[in-house]
């Protein structure tokens, strides 16, 4: 059985690697056809530029500066979004109060938020606010969906046995929310980075990825532009995985068994 699983995993990984190779190859072919580095840099050149950037201390300082702010915005959204979802689940009034705000935030283009926010706060902290605004609706909607999906019959059981809130949260609510929360974290982290970097490109705070991208665009340094885009993708994935690992470690038992339950 284990051997079988290993073979399937190897096969799946092989397909994934092949898919990545295919897209890199297509990129390489595209860059050769276009044959203008300013328009489309080749993947080899981009990787070499990235390696060069890695040697600079500034590169790491820039990543730290941007990540710190975007992740702060994300974590704030995680806490506040969850808090609002819990309150909305408990009170119809809070739900009606929060919903228009969430809907407006969802419908407003990121650029409008960024320009508006620039009037209120300094560009240094802009990415915190923007990543917060973009992530909070995702967290709110998913956590609320998880709470609404809570098994009514188990809640009745808890009521009859007079389980305290802590027991109810541990036994009933957390298992119900977890799949929704994991999906929200996956989507939210990517969204937070996209919006946060967009805010930096417009606000141009010093020592930020946005500033480096803006400069690369200004001086037509396409290789750098691609390299920084690659960096954003990588750190976004890295943070997403890190947060998911934390959730999986905290609720290891729940997640493993819920997966088995879903399979059944």
């Amino acid at each position: 059985m284990i051997r079988m699983k290993k073979i399937i995993n190897l096969k799946n990984n092989r397909f994934k690697i092949l898919a990545v190779c295919f897209w890199f190859l297509l990129w390489e072919v595209g860059s050769r056809v276009v044959d203008q580095e300013i328009l489309l840099a080749s993947p080899t050149e981009v990787l070499l530029t990235l390696l060069e950037l890695c040697r600079e201390i500034d590169f790491w300082v820039t990543i730290f500066f941007s990540s710190k702010r975007i992740v702060t915005g994300f974590l704030l959204a995680l806490c506040i979004g969850t808090f609002w979802a819990v309150l909305s689940y408990k009170s119809r009034l809070v739900y009606e109060l929060v919903t228009p705000f969430i809907k407006v935030v969802k419908a407003t283009p990121v650029a409008s938020f960024i320009i508006l926010a620039l009037i209120w706060i300094s560009s240094k902290n802009l990415s915190v606010l923007i990543s917060f605004f973009m992530v909070v609706p995702v967290i709110f909607s998913n956590v609320l969906q998880g709470l609404n999906a809570t098994d009514e019959k188990l809640l009745q059981m808890a009521k009859v046995y007079r389980l305290n809130n802590l027991k109810k949260i541990k036994a009933i609510y957390i298992p119900s929310i977890l799949p929704y929360l994991i999906s929200a974290v996956s989507v939210g982290m990517g969204l937070g980075f996209k919006a946060g970097i967009a805010a930096e490109v417009i606000g141009i705070p010093a020592n930020s990825i946005g500033q480096r991208m803006y400069e690369a665009k200004l001086y037509l340094m396409t290789k750098e532009l691609f390299a920084w885009s690659l960096v954003i993708i990588l750190i976004s994935i890295l943070f997403e995985k890190a947060i998911l690992i934390i959730i999986h470690t905290l609720y290891k038992e729940h997640i493993q068994k819920l997966r088995e339950l879903n399979r059944k």
Binding site: K153, I172, K257
Partner: protein, 192 residues
């Protein structure tokens, strides 16, 4: 204190499920509520447990009474094991070894640490019964607690319930007269 039901009525949409139900449950006695399917037995105990509210009528003697229940469905935390499920409804002072002993007594010795979703229907039913009996309660309500058990197991469980509920008020729903007789219960019939 006895539990008294006065003129209880309950209607779902157009269907009158309970009509002018009156009964007295004497403290410390075992009662079996019997009746045809759809007669309103589960509705009646759901009203007693506070899960649903009656349309009319009054219940006295239920104030702040601690209830334990075996529901029609097991209502267990599926990904938790039997011991954890039972400890969930027990007082902090409850010793885990006592829970294990109880589960061993009903034939679940080899299944203590398995998630209940991996247990058979009969095993899960036994876990639900043990949970109700181990909880700190003054009234135990059981909705077809021996459903899905074979004859030998059913007899074993009847004896177990009888032993564990001495002096407690028990209300049990069943279709089987043998169960009522086995528990020396007073029979309440609900007519359709």
């Amino acid at each position: 204190m006895d539990i008294r039901l006065h003129h209880i009525n309950k209607q779902f949409d157009e269907k009158q499920v309970l009509k002018d139900v009156n009964m007295t449950i004497v403290e410390g006695d075992i009662y079996c509520i019997m009746g045809a399917s759809g007669a309103g037995k589960t509705t009646l105990v759901n009203i007693l447990m506070g899960i649903i509210k009656q349309d009319a009528g009054e219940i006295t003697g239920m104030n702040k009474r601690k209830i334990a229940a075996v529901f029609q469905e097991d209502r267990l935390i599926e990904h938790w094991d039997a011991v954890k499920n039972i400890l969930l409804v027990c007082n902090k002072s409850m010793d885990e070894s006592k829970v294990k002993d109880a589960l061993e007594e009903v034939g679940l010795k080899d299944h203590l640490k398995k998630p209940v979703m991996d247990l058979s229907g009969g095993m899960r039913r036994r876990v639900a019964v043990v949970r109700a009996l181990m909880a700190d309660s003054e009234l135990i309500i059981m909705d077809e607690p021996f459903k899905g058990l074979d004859e030998a197991l059913k007899q074993q469980m009847i004896q177990y319930v009888k032993k564990r509920t001495k002096g407690k008020t028990v209300i049990l729903i069943t279709h089987d007269k043998e169960e009522a007789l086995g528990l020396n219960a007073k029979i309440i019939s609900i007519l359709s």
